[in-house]
Structures are given as structure tokens and as C-alpha cells.
Symmetry: C2
Subunit: 240 residues, 2 copies
DNA sequence: ACCTGAACACCGTTCAAGT
DNA sequence: ACCTGAACACCGTTCAAGT
């Protein structure tokens, strides 16, 4: 990150009225526009051309700020985690497990409505400072449980893996039909439920056992249910 | 899946010497070739053209078997899970938690060496039968713990989310430099470790606390460490 | 029923040139 | 230092035609 020039960081030109013969951006404005497109239309629709058009400039100008599409996604994902970090930065010295729960839920809330995020979050800590800081923050709460370094490492990774995995799974990039708007998300879910109900009960006893729970379930409750299992295991390890 | 014709399923023409003026495929051969390319070169390199070339035919023939690139990836991922399913199908009626551990570790082993898998596994149970069956199998073990349907649903989702999240995170699609071969995976990891060691110890106490564990750590140990926390929590819930 | 080559409408990225 | 338009080398997908 620090290896690239970062215009707009503390520069004099921050947004004043200029001659305006050419478009003028900054890393932040590029990332903000990228996140906006991502949130509105998903990763598939974030093309360099679409981004340039939204910024009102030419395609090549984007490459002044990022090395390519991959880094653009990495930085866009990291900028969202920056918001999470800000929200939990002053988490305080209450019960560490409670703090972990708070951090995890905040992350979940940020990721679940952004199907595109899962694949790019915490991918490269060299580029993604906020990701690194968030990982550190989670680790610091785990450290307070006074486990061995190895246990701390495993526990921190587990929390991060669980959050990202579950949130990414739940907020998955929906199928083309939903993206294109020819089918609503509700219709899609209703279809999935119907398909499950139609399964042979003898071959799929579990599916039938939980189908009523699945139908109309709340993703957040589901996430917290699993998270609490993990945190219970962690608490037990710490108390031993 | 059953909505599409499946040539080669139980058909008479299974691979006999033919006139051979044209290439001839089957869903299985198409998926096998796709998985081979995926394993060798990653998702980015699996182009329809590369796949057709490997099959020795034209591009358009692929579209006879799959509706597009997305479904190709879905089915390729599901075919790998088919192998996992086969390996654990006769898991037996031993301790359910032990069984869950076995299934999870088998899944982990299959996913971790396939960075491309994480993003496509368990995405659409309408297309991915093996994924559905594996989900069912995990759920059946959880059912034996005799929790409420809601608890069962949450626990099953948690196990699946943890496995996929952690494995996907660990086996991430490596950066371009590694894919293209200009940098080895070891060099990349060594670089990451060095970068972490260089961080300010006052601002990153956790990173420094675990850096020796991170350096040269075994992904599998790390996965199992986290998994056991989750399963401990689950066992406790079941015993209550 | 299954395969083909060519064509279409895109992409990400680069580059020489501008300001 | 930052932006531009045009060009390059690709893509996924479709289609009319073949066998």
C-alpha cells in the first residue's frame, strides 16, 4: 500500500473547483465509486469501463491508482473493513469473549449485504491494512484469554474463518437471473425451499427435519447460533 | 441437474472407437477436463476456449453440456465433493461428533488444495447434488445429538460454514505473480512472514505474539484446532 | 443428438500522447 | 503528476450450418 503514491492523502488539492477540462480523482473517490457499483450490481458488473464512466473519465486513469482489477477489489474490500474497524476500535476491556462476539457480529453485518466482499476480504495483508488491523484487534481479545501462542493463533484464525465463511456463504453472489432482475431474491428462496420440500423424506431425513426452520429463517440468528458454539468452545479452553 | 439431458449416463455409446471425424464428449469428460485445468492453473485460466482445446473440439460444444461458465464451475466443484461424499458415505454410527470431525477433515483435505473450489461449493443445491447429499450427511450426524430442529440447523450450518470458510481462506487463489510462476509459494509466504515481523511491536502485539506459530505453521493443524473448538461447543450444547 | 467455425459484443490492460 | 483515446489481445456466448 505504502509503495504506491497516494494522492489526496494530505495534499493541498482536495476537491476545489478546478479548470475541469479533465476529470480528477483520488484513491478514495475511485474506491468509493467501486464500492457503489459493487453494492448496486455485484462483482461481475464492476468493469473498469463502468468504473471510469461513473468517475466521468477515461479507462486508463484508474490504473494510476490501482495496479489492476484484482487490486481494485482488494482495496475496495479493505475500505469496507475500514468501516468495521472504526466501529469496533474502542471495544474496551470488557469480557474478551463478549468483545469477540461484538466484533464478529459487526463484521457479519458488513459482509452479509455485500456478496462480493467474501472473496476479497483478508486476502493480502500487504495491500489491505484495515484487514490486518482487524485481525490484530481480534487477536488481542483472544490474547487476553491467556492461552498458549499456538492456541491463540488457532482461535483467532477460527473466528475469522467462521465469520468470513458463513457470511460469504449467506451473502453469496446470487445467480444471474437474480442479478439481472428477472427473478426476485424472495422468489429464488421460495424455489429453493420448495425444491427441498419435494425431496424424498426417506433419503433426506435431515432436510425434512429442519425445513420449517430453513423456511423464513433469519441469517443473522443462524450466524450467531454457530458463533456461540465456537465461542463456548473457546471459553471452555480458556477456563481449563 | 436432472433437468438437463445427461449423455453417457447409461447410454450405449460409452467410448467405443467411432468414425472420429468429430470430437465426442460427455458431461463427465467435460467436468474432468475442467477440474484438471482448474487444479493445474486455477479458475482464472479455465476459459471455455482452453477447455475446448483440451477436449480437442470446438468451443460451442461445451454449451451442449453446461449452460455457461458459471454452471461449469458449479458442476466441477460439485464433482469434487462427489469424491468426498464417496469417502465418507459409510461413516457408520459411532460417536456423532467424531463422525462430524471426520467428515469435516475430509472436506478440508479436498478443498485446501483447490483454491478455486471455495467460491463455488454449496452454492446451488439444485445444480449440485453431491453438495446437497453431503449437507444432508452432516445434518444426519447432528440430528443424532437430539437437539431442537433449530439448534440442529444452526449447528449444521456452522460446521459447513467453518469448513468452507477456513479452507477457502487457506487455499486462496494465489496472487498473479505466483500463478504465473515468477514467484514460488514459499517465497510468497516468506515475504508475508517478513512483513509481519517488520510491524511495530507496540501497535501489533498480537501479530508478534503468534508470529513464530505462523511461521511454518501447518494449515491442517490450524484447521483442526478451530474445528475442535466448534465441536466442543456443540458437544456441550448436546449434553445440556 | 451432438458438434463445428465464425461472428458478436464485450473485457482488462497498455501505450504514446497530452496537460 | 495525472489524465486521455485508441489499440491490442483476449474473453463468453450465440448461431446457422453441418453430420
Amino acid at each position: 500500500m505504502a509503495t504506491r503514491p497516494q494522492p489526496g492523502d494530505a495534499s493541498s488539492r482536495s476537491r476545489g473547483p478546478r479548470t475541469r477540462s479533465r476529470a480528477s480523482h483520488s484513491l478514495e473517490s475511485v474506491l468509493a465509486a467501486a464500492v457503489a457499483i459493487l453494492d448496486e450490481s455485484g462483482a461481475q458488473r464492476l468493469t473498469i469501463r463502468a468504473l471510469a464512466a461513473r468517475l466521468g473519465g477515461g479507462v486508463a486513469s484508474v490504473y494510476w491508482y490501482v495496479s489492476g482489477r484484482d487490486e481494485l477489489l482488494d482495496l475496495a474490500a479493505d475500505s469496507v473493513l475500514g468501516g468495521v474497524l472504526e466501529a469496533v476500535a474502542d471495544i474496551g476491556d470488557g469480557d474478551p469473549i463478549d468483545n469477540l462476539r461484538t466484533i464478529a457480529v459487526t463484521m457479519f453485518d458488513a459482509i452479509v449485504d455485500r456478496p462480493w466482499l467474501g472473496a476479497y476480504v483478508l486476502r493480502d495483508t500487504a495491500t489491505q491494512i484495515h484487514s490486518l488491523q482487524l485481525y490484530e484487534l481480534i487477536g488481542e481479545q483472544v490474547m487476553r484469554l491467556e492461552l498458549t501462542p499456538r492456541q491463540s493463533f488457532h482461535a483467532t484464525s477460527a473466528v475469522v474463518g467462521f465469520v468470513i465463511g458463513t457470511a460469504a456463504d449467506m451473502g453469496q453472489e446470487p445467480p444471474e437471473a437474480v442479478v439481472s432482475g428477472e427473478m426476485s431474491k424472495e422468489e429464488y428462496m421460495a424455489g429453493a425451499t420448495a425444491q427441498w420440500r419435494a425431496l424424498d423424506a426417506a433419503r433426506f431425513p435431515y432436510i425434512h427435519h429442519i425445513i420449517d426452520e430453513f423456511d423464513g429463517h433469519d441469517d443473522r440468528d443462524q450466524f450467531i447460533g454457530g458463533l456461540d458454539l465456537l465461542l463456548t468452545g473457546l471459553r471452555l479452553q480458556a477456563e481449563r
